[in-house]
Amino acid sequence: MDRVSRLISQRLNSMIQAANPHTISSSRKAITALFPYAVWQGQYGRRGMLNTFLDAARASQDPRFMWCWIVPFFTTLLDKESLVSEKQVAILASPHLLWWGGHGSGKQMIQLWALAASEIPYSDETGVSVVDTLLRIASNNIMGPYIPAKMWLWLNRQPSLPPVCAGRYFGSMWGAVRAARATADLRTLGSYLLLVWSEWDYICHDGHGEMCTMIREDFGGVWMGHQRKALLQHLDHILEQLDLGLDHLQQYKPSLKKGSIKRMKEQYGKLKEVVVEEDKKVAIALACKFSRLIIPLSPLTPTSTNRETLNIHVCHPIPVVSGLECFQLPSTIQKFTYPPTLMSSPNLTCYSSYLPLSSCKVDIVRTMSEVLLYTP
C-alpha cells in the first residue's frame, strides 16, 4: 500500500510542478477519490498525501475541482461528532467543493460548515479557506441566504487571499454583493470590498453594477468618509499594480491575459470614480449645511497667530471634523475639547467610532466671532 501511495504522491507532485492546470483538472475525479484516503492517513499523523491533495486542488485552478460524489463523505467530516482534525481538513478542502449541485442538503451542509469553522483554531490558512468558501457560497442566489450572519465577520480578519483564488471572482457576482449588503454591517461591507477588489481578478459584470450602487447607497454620506478613504487607497493600489503590466502580474498568476488587465483597469477606474463622486457629493452637502462654518474658515492661513481652541457643538453625530478633511484644510486642530453637550451626547460612541479624533487636530485660527455651531 505504501508503495502505491508513494507512487501516487510522486505523480501528483510532478503534475503540480509542471504547473499545467488543465492536466490536473482532467484527473480531478481520480484525485477526489483519493481524498478519503488522504484524510485517513492524516489521522495517523501522515499529512503528506493530504497536503499534496490540497496543492493539486489549488494548482488545478478549477473552482469545482472536487467531484460532486465526495459530498456524502465530506458531510461526515463536518459532522458534529467528528474530530476537530477532521473538521479542520474539511474546512481546508471546502474551497475546492462545488457547494451547489443537488448532491446534498445545501442548507444543512452550510450550517455544519459554519459550526465546524467556529470550532477549529484560527490560522491564516483556515482564514483564507473560510473566506474563499464563504464568497463562493454567497454568489449562489439559493445558497447565499443560508450563510449564518456570524460567518460574514470572518471577512473582518482580512486574510490575505492568494493571487489564484476563485472565491474572489465568485464573490464579485451579483448574488454575493447582495448577500454582503444584506448583512447591513458597514464594517463587514468595507472588508468585503477590500477582499474582493484585487489586481488578480476582474469583477463580474453584474456584480460591478451592484457594487457601484452599494458605494452610492451604503458608503455615501459624510460619516463614511474614512471608509471611502480606505477604499480609495485600495483602488489606487490596485491601479498602480495594474500599471506595472501583464508580465509583472503573470509571475504570480500566469493565467492572466492582456484583455483582463484592460478590463480590470476600466472596472476599478470606474469604481474609483464612483467613490470620488461620493466624496464630492459630501463636500457639496457640507458646503450647504455648514455654510457658517465654511465661510469663516476659508480665509484661514497657517501663519496666523490667533489660535484658539475650537469648540464644536454637535447635537447629532455629524462629523464636522470629517467635513473639514473633505475640504482638505492644510492643517489640523491643535487642541480639541469637547463641549459638555457633546460629552453627554448619547451619540458620542457612534461619533468617535467613525472618527479617530486623536489624530484630527486641526490647527484652527479662529477668525470667527462665534463658536462653530451646528444644530440640525
Binding site: M1, K29, L34, W67, W69, I70, F73
Partner: protein
C-alpha cells in the same frame, strides 16, 4: 471449443469487448441523481468476477447433496461442450430456483453458475453459438421470468443483475447501501476493476467514472476497507493518473485468487 476455453479466450482476448457490450446494454439505464447509487455499469462488472473465479483454475468441487445433482454435475463438467450447452439451456429456461442451496461450497458453486448465466445474458453472448462459431455475435434471449437466487452467497449482486437484465431496470434503483456485497466479493470486484482500468488505460482510454466512483465509495467507508481493497483502489487511482503500476499490479493480481475469508460485517 470447451466452455472453460471460451471463458479463458474471452478474458485474454475479448474482455474489453464483453465489457463494452455490457456497457452498451446498460447505458440506457437511468439513475436517480438524488441517491447514492452504484453505477449500473458497476453492476455489470460484478458479473465478471465469476469469470475471474473460473479463470483462477480453482478445482471444482461438487456437493451433490445440496442442490440438484444434475446441475452440479453439469457445472462440474463445465469444461465440456455439454456444460456450455447446459448453461445455454439454463439461459433460455423460464426459471431457475437456487433457493434450496445450502452449504458453503454449494453456495459458491451455485453463485458462479448464476453469475455466468447472467453474464452471458448481459453481454449478449450466446454460449452455444460462441462455441460453435467461435465468435460471440448473436445476442442471447433474455428470459422474461425471474430466477430465484435466494440462498446464493452473492444474492444481492445476482439479484441486481437479474433485475437489470430482465427489463425491470426502469425505476429500479440499486445503491451501495442496498446492494450488500458478500465479503468475498469486494476484493474480487476491485481486482476486476483494476484489470478493466488497466486494460482501458493501455488502449489509451480514460478510466471510466463508474470505476472511480466505486473507488470513492470504498475509500470513504468507515471503518476503512480491508487492505487488499484499499490497495486495489489506490492502484486504480494510480492507473488513472498515468503511473506505471506494472510492478505493483502484478503483485496485487497474484493475490486476487487468494480466497480470503475476511468477515467484513459493516458491508454485509
Amino acid at each position: 471449443m470447451q466452455f472453460t476455453t471460451l471463458t479463458t479466450y474471452t478474458i485474454s482476448t475479448h474482455l474489453g469487448d464483453i465489457v463494452s457490450r455490457i456497457y452498451e446494454q446498460l447505458e440506457q439505464i437511468s439513475e436517480s441523481p438524488n441517491t447514492i447509487q452504484l453505477s449500473s455499469k458497476s453492476i455489470a462488472i460484478l458479473a465478471l468476477w465469476a469469470i475471474q473465479f473460473e479463470n483462477s483454475n480453482k478445482p471444482l468441487l461438487v456437493d451433490n447433496q445440496s442442490f440438484s445433482t444434475q446441475l452440479w454435475h453439469q457445472i462440474h463438467t463445465a469444461n465440456s461442450a455439454s456444460g456450455a450447452i447446459y448453461l445455454d439451456a439454463l439461459l433460455r429456461s423460464t426459471k431457475v430456483d437456487y433457493s434450496q442451496v445450502t452449504g458453503g461450497l454449494a453456495q459458491e458453486r451455485a453463485t458462479r453458475a448464476a453469475s455466468l448465466h447472467l453474464l452471458h445474458v448481459l453481454s449478449g453472448v450466446d454460449p452455444v453459438s460462441a462455441v460453435v462459431g467461435g465468435v460471440p455475435q448473436q445476442p442471447a434471449r433474455i428470459s422474461s421470468h425471474y430466477s430465484n437466487f435466494k440462498g446464493l452467497l452473492c444474492y444481492h449482486t445476482i439479484n441486481a443483475i437479474q433485475m437489470l437484465s430482465v427489463g425491470k431496470q426502469e425505476g429500479y434503483s440499486i445503491g451501495w447501501t442496498v446492494l450488500k456485497l458478500h465479503p468475498q466479493e469486494h476484493t474480487v470486484f476491485t481486482n476486476t476493476l483494476v484489470q478493466v482500468a488497466h486494460e482501458l488505460r493501455e488502449s489509451q482510454k480514460k478510466v471510466p467514472r463508474w470505476i472511480l466512483r466505486s473507488v470513492l465509495h470504498y475509500l470513504s467507508l468507515k471503518p476503512s476497507p480491508p487492505t487488499s481493497v484499499t490497495v486495489n483502489c489506490l492502484l486504480i487511482i494510480a492507473i488513472d493518473l498515468g503511473c506505471d503500476v506494472s510492478g505493483n499490479r502484478s503483485t496485487t493480481l497474484d493475490q486476487r485468487y487468494v480466497y480470503t475469508k475476511q468477515v467484513w460485517i459493516s458491508l454485509t
